[in-house]
Structures are given as structure tokens and as C-alpha cells.
Subunit: 323 residues, 2 copies
């Protein structure tokens, strides 16, 4: 409790007055966060047309113009190329173009699957059998709860028609705590994810990658004969993301489920705050190095320099600086 244990009673009394002021601050702070959330809603509407255009380009619903595709880095690269290299490059491009004209990829194939594979937090969830499904993922949208509703956000995973399930959208909703807890007003530090719910996936028969069948041999205790039992058990899959552990009425979860939920909240937060707003930078990989900069040190450890003595060099040539 710091160095103020055993304060005189008159001082302790005043400290309690400061704590009461602090509770008032916490309530004002809660209003601040509500207003920030309204700003986030307002700006979500401003970003949305750009994200919609992104989605149209990715799924080949829109072909961008040459002007829309101009990118400075490429131009700079062209300027530094010598004439000879320029001719080699041109010949190579014409070759590639012939090959590509046979392929003619539409939009940006496997855009979101590539984003997932590039980001450790997401690729950790990805199994091999998930990849063919995620090729059909066309967009991830963030939707906010309406004003006046309890604070929450929903991640919408939009899929093109596919062989695996009939849903066009899979959803994951995160509920947030947006006010201080009266019994613990000082633990509030801005809106925080408290729980989440998924959705039901209408799997096509035989395509449910979140289940697998295993065969177990069993020996009859009396007779000694062996039978083979086929069981359906859960299978690791990204798509378990849509059936997160439920928090029971008494509020207590086993340790494993707690860990799964904690990771889940982190992922939900990361997809909302980083992936959706900056998806192309995760596609190219540009954003990945930058994430080290996101490491915001709010804590108390700082490598503080001791500040060594800077003794001036004596310029008096007659004197030997060291005795």
C-alpha cells in the first residue's frame, strides 16, 4: 500500500475525501468513453464507403481505373531502371501477361485468407481444412450497437456461396462493459469486452470441419470380443470461433475455457481495431512490422539512464589530467 500505511487519522480522512472525488471522476470518465464511442460510430459511417469499395474490388464487383491504381512506390521504381533493364523488364512483363491472360484472376483472390495467414494471432486459429472455406470469405464488417442499447459490436464474416454452409454471413457479437462497477469504481479503464456470442453455422452434410469422427476399439470385459465404436468429437477449426465457451449462471468457468475466452476477446478486439480498418496492410505484410510500435508501455518499467558524469576534458596542456 505504498509508503502511506499508518497515516494520522486526520490525514486518512482527507485521503478518503480524495477517493470520493475520484469516484466522481470515474463517472465523468464513463461519459467521456460514451462520447468517444459515438465518435467511433460517426466515423464508422465515414469509413464504410471506402471499405465497401475495397470489398467490391476484392470480389471483382468493381474494376478500379488506372488512376485509382497509381501507387508512388511503383513509379519510383520505374524511374531508377536503366534502359537495358527496361527492355528486359518489358519482355518479361509481356511473357507474364500472356501467362496471366490464360489465368485471368478476378478481383483479389484469397484476400482475407492471406490476411489470416499473415497474422500470427489469426493463423494460430487456422487449420488446413479451414483454408478452402476461407477462400470464400469476401468481407469482414464491424457493426456497432445502436445508441441507447448496451454497448456491443458485431463482426460480420461475409461469404460468397459455397459448398460448406448455407449462411451468407457468420456473426460474432462482443458485449462490452461501459460503466464503472459500483462496488469497484476504480477498476474501470474504458469499455472492455465482457462476453461474446457466436452464431449457428448451417453446415452442408459431411462438411462440418468443427467435428470429426474417430473409431475406438473396445474389448468386452466378459466375453473378450472386440467391437469398433465410431464417435463424433470436436475438431480444431477456426470455425469454433463461432461457438465460444458460455459463461455459466454462477459466473465460474474452468481454467481452459477462461483461457479460450481471453484469447477470443483479444482476437475480436484485434479484428475490429486493426484488421478491418487496415486489411490491405496485413495482406501485403506492411502492417506486421509496425505492430511492434503498438506496444504501448503504460506500465512503470523504464530503462532510465543513470546519467553519467560528463567531466570536461582539461585543456591545460601543462597538466597531466590523471594523477
Amino acid at each position: 500500500m505504498g509508503v502511506q500505511a499508518g497515516l494520522p487519522k486526520v490525514v486518512k480522512r482527507r485521503v478518503n475525501a480524495l477517493k470520493n472525488l475520484q469516484v466522481k471522476c470515474a463517472h465523468i470518465e464513463a461519459k467521456f468513453y460514451e462520447e468517444v464511442h459515438e465518435l467511433e460510430r460517426k466515423y464508422a459511417a465515414l469509413y464504410q464507403p471506402l471499405f465497401d469499395k475495397r470489398s467490391d474490388i476484392v470480389k471483382a464487383a468493381y474494376e478500379p481505373t488506372d488512376e485509382e491504381c497509381e501507387w508512388k512506390a511503383d513509379e519510383e521504381e520505374e524511374l531508377t531502371v536503366s534502359k537495358q533493364d527496361e527492355m528486359k523488364e518489358k519482355a518479361k512483363l509481356e511473357e507474364e501477361k500472356k501467362d496471366e491472360e490464360k489465368e485471368d484472376p478476378k478481383g483479389i483472390p484469397e484476400f482475407w485468407l492471406t490476411v489470416f495467414k499473415n497474422v500470427d494471432l489469426l493463423s494460430d486459429m487456422l487449420q488446413e481444412h479451414d483454408e478452402p472455406i476461407l477462400k470464400h470469405l469476401q468481407d469482414i464488417k464491424v457493426k456497432f450497437s445502436d445508441p441507447g442499447q448496451p454497448m456491443s459490436f458485431t463482426l460480420e464474416f461475409h461469404f460468397e456461396p459455397n459448398d460448406f454452409f448455407t449462411n451468407t454471413v457468420l456473426t460474432k457479437t462482443y458485449k462490452m462493459r461501459s460503466e464503472p462497477d459500483e462496488s469497484d469504481p476504480f477498476s474501470f479503464d474504458g469499455p472492455e469486452i465482457m462476453s461474446c456470442t457466436g452464431c449457428t453455422i448451417d453446415w452442408t452434410k459431411g462438411k462440418n470441419v468443427t467435428l470429426k469422427t474417430i473409431k475406438k476399439k473396445q474389448k468386452h470385459k466378459g466375453r473378450g470380443t472386440v467391437r469398433t465404436v465410431t464417435k463424433t468429437v470436436p475438431n480444431d477449426s477456426f470455425f469454433n470461433f463461432f461457438t465460444p465457451p458460455e459463461v455459466p449462471e454462477n459466473g465460474e468457468l474452468d481454467e481452459d475455457s477462461e483461457a479460450v475466452l481471453a484469447a477470443d476477446f483479444e482476437i475480436g478486439h484485434f479484428i475490429r481495431e486493426r484488421i478491418v480498418p487496415r486489411a490491405v496492410l496485413y495482406f501485403t505484410g506492411e502492417a506486421i512490422e509496425d505492430d511492434d510500435d503498438d506496444y504501448d508501455e503504460e506500465g512503470e518499467e523504464a530503462d532510465d539512464e543513470e546519467g553519467e558524469e560528463e567531466a570536461d576534458e582539461e585543456n591545460d596542456a601543462d597538466y597531466d589530467p590523471k594523477v
Copy 2:
């Protein structure tokens, strides 16, 4: 660069279109942060009366009423005390009260010094010779730049009259970058401290703790006689905080100064965001454990559970579950 090296040209073209959309997003995001900053200004004005009251209580300019000093935890503690303990406690309190009446501490003595000592980031800066000075620190205020001005904030350290320097306020100003850099639009991630300036401390003669004199013995190279030279050199002190390293015109700092500045920015940010808003919780120590929760994992490392097979127990008693 992720798994998309060697994209077909037609796809690369569309990726560039997405990058151009991303630049537009970055500019919208900059406006978002400007509006958040306006909200911060608005709320700073709402917190200020509470912080002013805190300051008045700390420096004994205001004595809070009994009602203002009621604090739930104390009440709860009283309820659980037995009659016998209650009488012992009462006798002890009367003893303490007699002692205290002789002392009669005003306000909350050494409030801010105690905050500094409780917080590693700040106590690392603190030297023994700084403590008598910091006993005179009565308040730390945060002031924001005006709308339309380049974004900055100033920390004002308010001191009561003392023997060490004549200033009533020492200031440290932090300048922020609030817009994307045109040459690197994707590195912008919200306002960031870019530089800082301190102030001149008008030290009373002989009281400047940022300097110390040392004696050096030197031997005359020719004659062999020894002389004693007295030099003034920098001394470690918290008060060096007000003379941070200057970034030279060519923008390059030596490694040591870069480290000092990086730590300085962290400290300035921490004082603004955590210490000033929640000072009493650092005084009592309550906020210190909580700071672990501030550890916001925006990065990509997650201990993802492998998700072990949950095989159901076979209930068929005839069969031995293990073969």
C-alpha cells in the same frame, strides 16, 4: 511481405487501388483523432473542478466535511469488529489522537512526493536530494494547446514557496504529431509525442541539485607539482526532467540522448494519462497492481489453446474403454 509476393500484375494493380483507399482512410482517421482530442479538451474542463478540490485538500486550503470523507471500506471494517476489539481500538485511537493533536498535520503532507515514490517509472528519476524539494510540490496540472494550434500538452508542476528556487510553476511541454506523414501515411497510429521542451529553473544560490562540484588533482607534467581543480559537473536529479536533450537541426541524436528522450516521452505520457487523473490511487497504492491490466495486448502473440480432444467417457459398463 507475407504470402503474396509475385502476384499477377492485374491483381497487384487492384492491391494498389486498395492502398490508395487506405491513404484516404488514414486522413479520415486523422480527423477522428482531432475530434477525440477536442473531447479530451472538453472533459479536461469537467475534471478540473475535481482536481482543483483535490489540490485544495492536499495543501490544506480546504477542509472536507465528514460527509465528503465517508468511505465505504472503512464502514465495512467497523461492522466486522467485535465489541472487545472495538474497545481496544477506541483506546488506541484516543492515544493516537492525543499524539496527533500535538502534530496537527495540515492537508495531506508529501502527497505528490509519495505518489512519485510509489510509481517505479517516477521513483527511478528520484534522487535523495530531490525529496526535500518535492515535498513542496502541491499540484500537477495538464494543459492542452488551443484548437487550431499545433497539438501539444503542458505539464505544470505547482510548488509552494521554498528555499530551492523562486519559480512557482515548472513546466514541461510535449509536442505531438497529429497527422499522417505524407511520405509514410501508414505509420500514423494516432497522436504521438515528437519532441519536448522544459523551462528554466531559477535556483537559489547553492541549491541547484542538478549540478555538483568535484575536485580533481592534477600533476604538472614539467614540474611535478600537484594542483587541485574544482569543477562543476551535471548531477543526477529529477529536476533534469526540465532540461531534456535537444534534437539538433540535422535531426540526429546520440544513442544515450535518444534513450533519455524515449523514457522522457513515456513519463510525460504516463503523468498526463494516469498520474494526474488518478493521483490518489497512486498515493494509496491501489492503482499500482491495476497497471498490469493496462497491458493491452495489441500484438499478435496469443497463447492459443490447441483444443484437445474431448472424448466422451463410454458409459457402456460391459466394455473396457481402453484396449
